[in-house]
Subunit: 116 residues, 3 copies
């Protein structure tokens, strides 16, 4: 039922997959891991903008977000960057929990699902 399109692939994952009007992004982390949670969140969301644009979507079409934090004490720092990025568009459903990451410098990971 409908094509599956995958973009920005390596052998283990596709950064974005489109099927049936829905775009599934991989969990994104920041490349610059020396920064704090707010700056890591900002970089992740800029990556998301580029991925969403590549399939004709954008931050106004988000459906649901999963957010993982290394330190749940950083909830406010993540939220500030998140709300700034949303810039008044209607936000997706969202769940945020603490988790551990493969690299200790990673402070936040975000996985988005969007309409196209």
């Amino acid at each position: 039922m409908g094509n599956i399109e995958r973009f920005d692939k390596n052998e283990r994952l596709s950064r974005i997959v489109v099927h049936n009007g829905t775009a599934y992004l991989s969990g994104l982390t920041a490349d610059d891991k020396k920064t704090g949670t707010s700056d890591q969140t900002k970089e992740i969301l800029e990556k998301a903008d580029r991925l969403l644009a590549s399939v004709g979507s954008d931050r106004s079409k988000l459906l649901v977000a999963h957010i993982w934090l290394r330190d749940v004490e950083d909830f406010d720092a993540m939220n500030k960057a998140w709300v700034t990025w949303l810039d008044g568009v209607e936000p997706p459903a969202r769940a945020t929990v603490g988790a551990s990451f493969a690299l200790p410098e990673i402070r936040v990971e975000i996985q988005l699902t969007a309409a196209i």
Copy 2:
């Protein structure tokens, strides 16, 4: 491809988002955080009932659930409240893992996806 409808919104998230016949709920936690895992689960699922009803869905139309527990030892307590709530309807796919939360009194968080 299809409208996106968002309900029960604040600046950072929508409690429920509908697109293409699917409803995505935010991760729900209990308001009364002084109770145990069983009662927190019960309160969360009552919230879910109200949100699902607001878009014409209900607990018999669940597709997938993500459940996070503060203490994985509370697996049975959560399950008991979950099965009582389902009350014999066909259950969704489900994944349950331990995680940490922004507030230490939170013992369980549940994120649901449902058909409408």
Copy 3:
């Protein structure tokens, strides 16, 4: 909007749920919990093959995967089994984080969403 079909059910979850061209699997863990992360991943993915086949899907139609590891140090061991299983098909979007499980011998849990 469209039927919901659920398979391989017990009172608390369905191992696979199909709606609107999309199959949602439950979080899968290995039955043989005495093995390491690589072998647990391999067993999980063989289970996924059987579940996907039961609804007319297969590993080439994956949309998104959530992977949880008990020890994030096992990231490479999980990845090796994952890439071997994919066997060159285009991979789904994916997010991998550390989490805790109800049984301490569980080293990895995988939740898949696929097109049918």
